[in-house]
């Protein structure tokens, strides 16, 4: 408690400074490391989007890779079949993912946590199966879609790994701003009221259905945004990137890092996606190590590694 105001002020300064320093990464690292940094940015956006639904609203979404996948497939399909420029596919990817999030969650919004969890696992299974079966010949089946173009900005082709990293990093910065604002607005607060006591929230006038649906739509839209960046970074998408274990990983990042905590989710993402790259020889042990870490954190520090700080007036 006592350290919180200082901590908040430090965070307000440190966050932007670290982000700005991150812009210089391509000058300090070789391109394989820049690509890791780009993946970090993309997965950080996805994990933050899961945090909107899971960490803030307290809804057990165990199928979040679906919305990430929808974004990636929308960009891949529009770009490869209709030659739509990448950056134009971005708003569509977000919109379609948001619509899917709102529609899929609508019948489930009243479900208790455990039932919602199982239902969202079902969505994930159906999504992967559908992509593998190549409906209408547009998803490319198990092989997926290859040959996705590069984004161009003001006539500039963002082909180099550094250029793509900068794009991802700037988008991550924008998403971080949105997440920070979410903490300071009525919508974000309503999510936390619902998470902590839905009955009490109702008597204060919080419309649970509307707020939860919006949370799903927002979380899905941000995941869709990350999906577009992912398709660009890999220049190929396939169903294996959006399987159930990806959803589990996103879920675990939020729980282990700290629900509703931006630094916590970023740390969780780094542990899951960057640390394994450093110990590349041990890549196969990724789930082993993270699995042990998950158990240890849940037992020793159930609020997460960097838990959310209480707001101080």
């Amino acid at each position: 408690m006592r350290g919180a105001p200082l901590g908040g002020a430090t965070g307000a300064v440190a966050g932007p400074v670290i982000w700005a320093a991150g812009l210089a990464l391509p000058f300090a690292l070789d391109s394989s490391w820049v690509s890791i940094a780009a993946f970090f940015a993309i997965y950080a956006i996805t994990a933050l989007s899961e945090d909107v639904i899971l960490g803030r609203a307290g809804m057990f979404d165990m199928g979040h890779a679906v919305y990430f996948g929808i974004g990636a497939y929308v960009t891949a399909i529009l770009n490869t079949t209709l030659n739509v420029p990448i950056l134009l596919t971005l708003p569509l990817a977000m919109l379609l993912a948001a619509a899917a999030g709102a529609l899929l969650s609508a019948p489930l919004i009243r479900l208790r946590g455990d039932y919602l969890l199982v239902a969202t696992i079902g969505f994930n299974a159906i999504f992967v199966l559908a992509m593998q079966n190549d409906p209408g010949g547009i998803t490319g089946g198990s092989d997926g879609i290859t040959g996705i173009g590069v984004p161009s900005l003001f006539g500039l082709q963002l082909e180099s790994q550094s250029a793509m990293f900068w794009l991802d990093w700037v988008v991550l910065g924008a998403v971080l701003l949105v997440m920070r604002n979410l903490d300071r607005c009525e919508f974000g607060r309503a999510l936390r009221y619902l998470k902590q006591d839905e009955l009490a929230a109702g008597t204060l006038g919080v419309d649970a259905r509307a707020v939860k649906t919006l949370a799903f739509a927002l979380g899905a839209a941000l995941a869709g945004l990350a999906g577009t960046l992912f398709a660009v970074q890999l220049s190929t998408v396939s169903p294996s990137s959006f399987v159930f274990t990806e959803s589990v990983t996103l879920f675990a990042i939020v729980i282990v890092g700290g629900q509703g905590s931006i630094p916590g989710v970023l740390l969780g993402t780094a542990l899951m996606f960057v640390v394994p790259q450093i110990f590349r020889g041990l890549a196969e042990y990724r789930y082993f190590v993270f699995g042990i870490a998950m158990v240890a954190v849940m037992v020793l520090r159930p609020q997460g590694l960097l838990p959310r700080r209480r707001a101080v007036t």
Binding site: D197, G205, R310
Partner: protein, 260 residues
């Protein structure tokens, strides 16, 4: 003398048990109305039917003459009807300030996208609502604990925080579900003061209580129920003297205590 809230023949049963049966009474604007009855008489069930947690099987609930039977809790709140809970339901992971600020939810006019973008109008509104929250904290003498985790405080203070949260919604009527439960005598006396102070600001109060002392001291009008039925109604003195109340509700020892 207009009825703010009126119940007409309201009833509900759970698994064949008639929890509340054909209950009618009204709450006049500006009054403090006490609803009393022994444990298990159906008091909280009545509250839950008024505030939309349960839907009555029979009868009607009227708000300023308009029917609101079975309306959802969020709509009830929008009408200006707020409640507290018998077991205090504060947001456990939030400070006192954040809890009371939660009561201002419906006063916020900002759209969600304005909030996500942090537009100047939204920031201004946040500042206004924070000021309103501080004002209520001062009025209920809670400004000293504004940043404390809400559930770390003594029971009596938590009660006051919950009251402050209902007041932050600028209600017309607040329903207090056994506010004296778990309070010691000093806290109970302080609660009476707070209830009077709230009434002074023009808020009507419906109070459910089985602690007779609180109800008799503060209520303008008392409704007594037992086994889900109304057995007496009137001012505190009349109810206290009512033989049906003494026999059916108070029991012999309690009757002597109240008469004394």
């Amino acid at each position: 003398m207009s009825a703010l809230l009126e119940l007409q023949g309201v009833g509900i049963s759970f698994g064949g048990l008639r929890a509340v049966d054909d209950l009618s009474f009204s709450v006049t604007e500006g009054q403090i109305v006490g609803l009393i009855g022994p444990n298990g008489a159906g008091k909280t069930t009545v509250f839950n039917m008024i505030t939309g947690v349960y839907r009555p099987k029979t009868g009607r609930v009227l708000w300023q003459g308009r029917e609101i039977t079975g309306a959802k809790p969020a709509r009830i709140a929008r009408l200006g009807l707020r409640r507290t809970f018998q077991t205090i339901r504060l947001f456990a992971e939030m400070s006192v300030f954040e809890n009371v600020r939660a009561g201002c939810h419906l006063a916020a006019r900002q759209h969600w996208w304005e909030g996500l973008l942090g537009l100047p109008g939204q920031r201004r509104e946040e500042a206004e609502l924070a000021a309103r929250t501080h004002e209520i904290l001062r009025r209920l003498d809670l400004d000293g604990v504004a940043d404390a985790p809400a559930t770390s405080l003594p029971y009596g203070v938590q009660r006051r925080v919950e009251l402050a949260r209902t007041l932050a919604g600028q209600p017309k009527l607040i329903i207090l579900d056994e506010p004296a439960a778990g309070l010691n005598d000093a806290e109970s006396a302080a609660l009476n003061e707070t209830i009077f102070m709230i009434r002074e600001t023009g808020v009507t109060i419906l109070l459910v209580e089985h602690d007779m002392n609180v109800v008799m001291r503060v209520s303008d009008h008392v409704v007594v129920i037992n086994f889900g039925r109304k057995i007496a109604e009137g001012d505190a003195a009349a109810v206290r003297a009512d033989p049906a109340v003494i026999e059916a509700y108070l029991g012999r020892e309690d009757a002597e205590e109240v008469a004394a």
